[in-house]
Amino acid sequence: MLILVKYGCDNVADCHKFSLALPGDQIILIQNGVFWAISDDIDPFLKKGIEIFAIEPDFDARGFAKEDAKVPLISYNGFIELLEKTEKTLG
């Protein structure tokens, strides 16, 4: 399942989305969701084996340095490719 997260770690809905993720699921951090990419809150989910990506233009636009990203950064085209490969979506 592909899970879209567009708000930061303080958002009820997006915390809930993270809590539902299983190993093998993919999480895409988009818009303010990229705040997760620099937060320690993401560590348990990475350890759980969930694949997490952040949208690079959204990460850059918020002034973050690439080396501070705890997850791989992908382009919007990369995001579309992932979306096309996935049958189930949570967003």
């Binding site: 399942m1 809930h16 539902l20 299983l22 189930k88 979506t89 949570l90 967003g91």
Partner: protein
């Protein structure tokens, strides 16, 4: 038939989202879509027996019950959220099923699309 779950997380007093979530779910019956509704966090007070936004002059929630009955729309409620918001008595007209976290994980992964309101 696509399976779509509407997850509502905001309270029915001061927010339109519980009404909009249910309304969107009912609208799916015109398509080849099987909708279900899950209430989490503050949204669980929507099913409390004593909740009525109309007391504040807001749009009533009770009208959704008519459509739940008519379409037999499945409504799930998160048990931890019911405990958190001290909901003790649930209005039976929602025909709600109370589920725990693991059941929520299974429910979500069974769906083709999950939409948060």
């Amino acid at each position: 038939m696509k399976k779509v779950l509407f997850v509502i997380y905001q309270a029915p007093c001061g927010s339109i989202w519980p009404n909009e979530g249910f309304r969107s779910a009912f609208g799916m019956y015109g398509e080849e879509i099987e909708p279900e509704v899950l209430l989490i966090d503050q949204a669980v007070i929507a099913v409390a027996q004593e909740t009525e936004p109309k007391k504040l002059g807001l749009f009533s929630l009770k009208m959704v019950q008519r459509y739940i009955g008519r379409y037999e729309t499945k409504v799930y409620v998160d048990k931890a959220s019911l405990d958190k918001f001290k909901v003790k008595e649930i209005d039976p007209d929602y025909q709600a099923e109370i589920i725990d976290h693991q059941q929520m994980v299974d429910l979500v992964h069974d769906k083709d699309l999950v939409i948060y309101f």
